[in-house]
Amino acid sequence: MAAFRNLLYLAIIPLTFACSPDKETEPKVEPYTPTPYQLTIPSHFPQNITVPPDNALTEEGVELGRHLFYEKKLSGNNTMSCGSCHQQDKAFTDGKALAVGIDGIAHRRGAMSLTNMQWFTQFNWDGGTYSLEEQARGPIENHDELHQDLEEAVHELQATTLYPPLFEKAFGSGTITEENILKALAQFQRTLISADSRYDKHLQGEEALTPEEVEGMQLFMTHPEPGIGLRGGNCGDCHGGTLLSMRTFHNNGLDDTFTDNGLGEVTGNARHNGLFKAPSLRNIALTAPYMHDGRFQTLEEVLDHYNDHLKYNSPNLDPLIIEASNEVDGKTLLLTEEEKRKIIAFLHALTDDNFVKDERFSDPHN
């Protein structure tokens, strides 16, 4: 049936041409012919992703986006680019607790790792933006980040010899626009897929994990239920699935009172105060320090937090955390040192060496 409909459409298009008065003129040749970018979706990842219909990935768009991602003209004093805080060798983080912008002012949150964003629908620690196109404007314009007026960036890029032809190839016009800058950055970021860790190989049926890492994985994914003797690290409730993130927001008991309300600032709902995105833990061994404000230096400190130092009086503390202990009537999580070590061993199996070395994601200006 569908084939017949398509044929019908083919028949109707010429019909409309036939009716138009100036059919003598040849149809205009498209001014540009970008090559569709063949994004390989890993077979064990969710297959139902959507790309905005007005920003399909093209080879030229992605290449432009890569240039822009590492372009210092996107900062107010031409000293920093997106890549300054999102460094490939650190899985696109910067190793700092809080990101620091061009004016030396620290942001109140840390730079997030950029992986597999294609599968997410809310961005930033507070979930305040809903597409990569929309998100890209924030870090360029925020005063504590790149502090650049996007309109000014358009003028600076237009004055180069490099960019007008790249925009021409990507979008069919050498006249640079704010919208096309954001679209190209989004296209590049959609290609940042990390799916080649040893955990991925395990998911695909290979024997890629050591017995200790397999035990760590089982603990990681298990919510403890001491009544039936089931021990668990309680990580997977928020960081489960192939993305290692449930894409949800939680208060994970860091503070009794909040200086940063997270999701609550976005929604205005007091029940959301203190909730932050459960980020993907892919490449987590490369993205220290941890939490939205980078307060923990090591994975050991993170595990100690969840095991021993949760603030049980924190407003909106997640039920998944409150109700989790490895002992009947236990208050805290009560993992053993050995169990914590196994979970950390598993976390190291989430590192994707090929991702952090992939030339396609590196700085093209070098």
Partner: protein, 246 residues
């Protein structure tokens, strides 16, 4: 001028295709559709996440912040054995605040007086990374491929007689995949009417009674292992009800 002739020729050639397309539609065996709507309730009150406060069968007060479950392998059955329709790739993640309806399409005409469906994910799909329907491996419902999917997730808070705290019921494991058969109060005769609507209600309180009354003071979480779950035995009994067929 020459161009116009070519276009006209195109059109003439395309016309028979158009006609075939139309007659094809007439020739296909008649089918109908069934829209299935599910309303999550607590007793007689509609479930409201976060806002509502409810009383459990054991008399505890509770609220719900997250409620999701899988309905899968939906079939329509004719009790005289004449027809059975099984929805292909039939996996529906019903979520309060998310999907609460689905449509069975291209059902061969016939008269159906029962609906069969399962709570959970069948063993073949529970340990696989194939993803028909709503089996997205990053939708909050997967643990890992040893344990498989959470079939039902209920998260909330309670105040009991002696204690208060969080409620976390995650039910999964092949033993807890339950097939239910519900009688329809009115048969779905797709010869008489091409589109029907079936309204179901899911009662959260039924998760906590019949056969097992669950007192939150004694049990405020459960289901995390693969073993048989009391909540699953409860959801196979009275959790889903047919309200109306029209």
């Amino acid at each position: 001028m020459k161009n116009t002739l070519i276009w006209l020729l195109f059109l003439v050639l395309a016309l028979p295709l158009l006609l075939t397309a139309c007659s094809d539609e007439d020739d296909t065996p008649a089918t109908g559709n069934l829209q299935v709507n599910i309303q999550n309730m607590v007793g007689t009150a509609p479930l409201q996440l976060d806002e509502g406060t409810y009383t459990s069968p054991a008399g505890d007060t509770y609220s719900v912040s997250n409620f999701k479950y899988y309905i899968s392998n939906v079939k329509l059955i004719s009790s005289n054995g004449q027809a059975t329709f099984a929805e292909p790739e039939s996996y529906h993640l019903i979520a309060q605040g998310g999907k609460t309806a689905f449509e069975l399409k291209d059902i061969p005409v016939g008269t159906y007086d029962k609906i069969e469906l399962a709570i959970g994910v069948d063993e073949a799909h529970n340990h696989s990374t194939d993803q028909p329907g709503d089996l997205d491996p990053s939708n909050e419902m997967v643990w890992d491929w040893d344990t498989g999917y959470k079939f039902l997730s209920l998260v909330g808070a309670y105040t009991g007689d002696t204690e208060s705290g969080a409620l976390v019921f995650h039910v999964g494991g092949d033993a807890n995949y339950k097939i239910l058969t519900l009688n329809l109060p009115k048969a779905i005769n797709l010869r008489e009417q091409a589109t029907f609507e079936l309204s179901l209600q899911a009662d959260v309180n039924e998760l906590f009674q019949g056969p097992h009354t669950i007192d939150f003071d004694e049990m405020n979480s459960g289901g995390h292992g693969a073993g048989p779950s009391m909540v699953a035995e409860n959801y196979s009994n009275g959790f889903l009800k047919v309200v109306e067929v029209k």
